[in-house]
Amino acid sequence: MSSMETVDTAGPQRKVEVIEGATVRFAGDSGDGMQVMGAQFSTSSVIHGNDIATLPDFPAEIRAPAGTLAGVSGFQINFSSQEIYTPGDGIDTLFAMNPAALKVNLADLYEGGLLVVNSEAFTDDGLEKAGYKTNPLEDGSLNNYRVVSIPLTRLNRDAVEGLGLDRKAADRCKNFYTLGLAYWIYNRPIEPTVKWIEKKFAGKSDLMEANLRTFRAGWNYGETAELFTSAYHVEKADIQPGVYRKITGNSALVLGVAAASKLSGKDLFYASYPITPASDILHEVSALKNHGMMTFQAEDEIAAICAALGAAFGGSLAVTGTSGPGLALKMEAIGLGIMTELPVIIINVQRGGPSTGLPTKTEQADLLQAWGGRNGESPLAIVAPATPSDCFTMALEACRIALKFMTPVIILSDGYLANGAEPWRIPEVDDLPAIDAPFCTKPNAEDGFNPYTRDERLARPWAVPGTPGLQHRIGGLEKQHITGNVSYDPKNHDFMVKLRQDKIDGIANDIPPLKVFGDESGDLLVLGWGGTYGSITTAVERARKAGKKVSQAHLRYLNPFPKNLGEVLSRFKKVLIPELNLGQLRTLIRAKYLIDAKGLNKVQGRPFQVAEVLEAIDKALED
């Protein structure tokens, strides 16, 4: 909310301030439609032309009792005329639908920020459930904010009156009243949401009409109520031309593997067992049957990876997705994937651990598990997307590597990326990398077929059942080099263990070098990985604006590392590694490059705030 020029866009009554961007959060009972509001506001904003970043926040319970702190659901969106990378540290405007929502979220509202509350929810009962001793709307505790208290329930009922809805159905519309008001305040285009309502309630004309009416009524309330001194206008961002869609990390993973399927000509087989926050991948792939994608909801995570390996043996592009505890269960079978050298992609959407932990929260604490969490020497490739839309790119990369090198590949996403949304410029199909993964169809040796011969990148041939003459057996016992027969020969074992490691290490020749943002050398390199990209980027940009000799690099390939990583690290006096764990990448970097990298480590189930990274940068520079 930086530039504060006043313009007239909508007639004499309407004062509009032009601002760079803002962060808004909708908060209320889960089931009160907060996620829908957030999604609508985001869509409207991207269609308006802003850059956005979002942060949904669900409770772990499906429906905690109405009005309790445990039941509060939130959705935060940061939108701007500039490029942005995070959903925002604090919020400019908070919509709090009940006292519990106020209590949980108020701390994040900037001083002087706008607070819109439903006054009718601040009943004795509501206050008690939220643990308020006195009514904050009356006790002066909100004096530092611009409070707009509206009798939402009544206003909404008025708006939908005469449509014959019963009270329950009528009250269910009220989130659209609030949304209408929000649109007025931030001058959002209403058409996308009007269309959405029309589609969503097609066939239920009374509900459609009700939602449209209350949505418009909310907008009009802003226009007429004179409670607001001004509305805000956020200019379109200067965005690369192209066709855009809004995308979450999970959707991007789906599109990534689906694209790899089409590009490689291998049918997609997605095997999974539901688990938060990875379930949506299963849901979305299962809706793509008309694109020929197959899903298998397995009896558990072990069955899922095994079925995927079975499908990979059969020649499919096999993918399995899960979250932390599920990854732990898959490890034994992933080891078989390593020994049999079958291409399989394992998506792990990290969440708070250990054990069941904080299932709906984000974390980056499965890196060591992915890297070394199997019996024996069992190297595999690991990639980690940096942003929701990067999930598309890295999913494609994972498939490309798996098929090219005949290896399992783990994609480490996280809860923040999975549910966070951003605008995504849809790539041209021709710009996507070719994925060439031919089956072996002919004998490759004088005496027939040797399944463990190697090409120049040490990959073995992929000969699928049904191919005459190439019958062979694979399995988990150590393999004789070339023939693939079972071998207990000590020297062969040593050779094969090292060969499997070399194969994975060799992937480094096939991935892009690590790029540095900012100067190529300096006082401090901030090295990140995964979903913390946004906060780190913003913090480094700010630090650089403040004249500090800080650069940034973000690892998207975690095993093997890009070839130039050591060299990049050596050009900086210090290295800071912010992670949402206790220092897992830091351990790997220190072990490999013997540099005294420092960590910024927070394990709170939520992303870094820009300020936290900035502070750590300052501290690192001082030390």
Partner: protein, 345 residues
């Protein structure tokens, strides 16, 4: 599975791989291997279209000895691998080879799920009532009181009965045979392979090293006909060395052994076997007859058609494609709400 006979005739030997067979001399697995080759040759299944998937155990070495495609996977999970493979490759004949430990101890869950889904695969459980490969611990099919390496004072676990587990999962094809009853075994294997949907066969297999003689009552020529009863669809349930005994359902709705000619019992009083009954309860009753109280049935207990998982998966894809042709990658990427930012923006 759909059988695809072909021109040049494959012999029994053609199905064997070049690998040395490494079971203990005298192991019952040899006989099963031989009968499997015979059954495949009989059906003339093209070798390249056959896949054997096993878990871990002595029995699970089986795939190495067949010149087909094969996967010696990990302990207990073979049905899951098979499910994935069969779902994407309807053209293949997928066999699961498993042991009593592999199938029923660590792998029990995958087994019941493959069966209940009715994936079009053939599951062969080599039941030697012992853990062979790990050198002689009791298994989930070992009888109570069994002394093994891990139960020096005798086991106290009630055993599982493989066919009851299969019927509890509503298996459509359930059969039993014995390693050394070569003809019966080969026929049973062939019937199982020909069945559409999951077929489940328990094979009594002797482990002459760690559990020798476990099935002696079913294999010893002198006594086996008193201890086994052969199930034949449409035939009365008769058995005994003089073929004078039979099974009937008594007034209390229980199976009982009767002797023809005694107490006025004639063949028409006997239960007639019907493997195609929709209701599996009678198959369950037969599967619940245990030696030595009862003769134990061998043959096909149940053979009914149920919806097949992998067929239905593919059919759903086909229908979805028909209803809303997915089109190309571009349409996939552009699905849903999009907007255009033009260059002049």
């Amino acid at each position: 599975m759909a059988l695809a006979p072909q021109d040049s005739k494959l012999t029994v030997k053609d199905y064997g791989s070049s690998q040395d067979v490494r079971w203990c001399p005298g192991c019952g697995d040899y006989s099963i291997l031989a009968q499997m080759k015979k059954a495949l040759a009989n059906m003339q299944l093209p070798k390249e279209n056959v896949v054997f998937i096993s878990g871990i155990g002595c029995s699970s070495r089986f795939p190495y000895y067949m010149d087909t495609y094969g996967m010696h996977s990990i302990h207990g999970r073979a049905p899951a691998f098979a499910t994935g493979l069969k779902t994407v490759r309807p053209d293949l004949h997928v066999f699961v080879i498993t042991g009593d430990g592999d199938a029923l101890s660590i792998g029990g869950n995958h087994l019941i799920h493959a069966i209940r889904r009715n994936v079009n695969i053939t599951i062969l459980l080599f039941n030697n009532r012992i853990y062979g490969l790990t050198k002689g611990q009791y298994s989930p099919t070992s009888e109570c009181g069994k002394k093994t390496k891990s139960t020096p004072f005798g086991s106290v676990d009630n055993p599982l009965h493989p066919l009851l587990v299969a019927l509890g999962s509503e298996a459509g094809f359930v059969a039993r045979s014995v390693d050394v009853h070569t003809k019966h075994l080969a026929e049973t294997l062939e019937a199982a392979a020909r069945h559409q949907g999951t077929s489940f066969v328990e094979i009594y297999q002797n482990c002459n090293i760690f559990n020798d003689g476990a099935w002696e009552w079913a294999t010893d020529r002198k006594i086996k006909s008193d201890n086994l009863i052969e199930l034949e669809h449409g035939q009365p349930l008769r058995f005994g060395s003089n073929n004078d005994k039979g099974l009937r359902v008594n007034s209390n709705l229980e199976l009982e052994v009767v002797t023809i000619g005694e107490n006025g019992v004639s063949e028409s009083d006997l239960l007639v076997h019907n493997s195609q009954r929709k209701d599996p309860a009678l198959a369950y009753m037969l599967a619940n007859m245990h030696h030595p109280e009862f003769p134990e049935p061998v043959g096909i207990f149940r053979q009914v058609q149920r919806p097949i998982y992998d067929d239905d998966v593919r059919e759903q894809v086909r229908k979805a494609r028909e209803a809303r042709p997915g089109g190309d990658l571009k349409s996939l990427l552009h699905a849903g709400e999009t907007w255009t930012v033009s260059a002049s923006n």
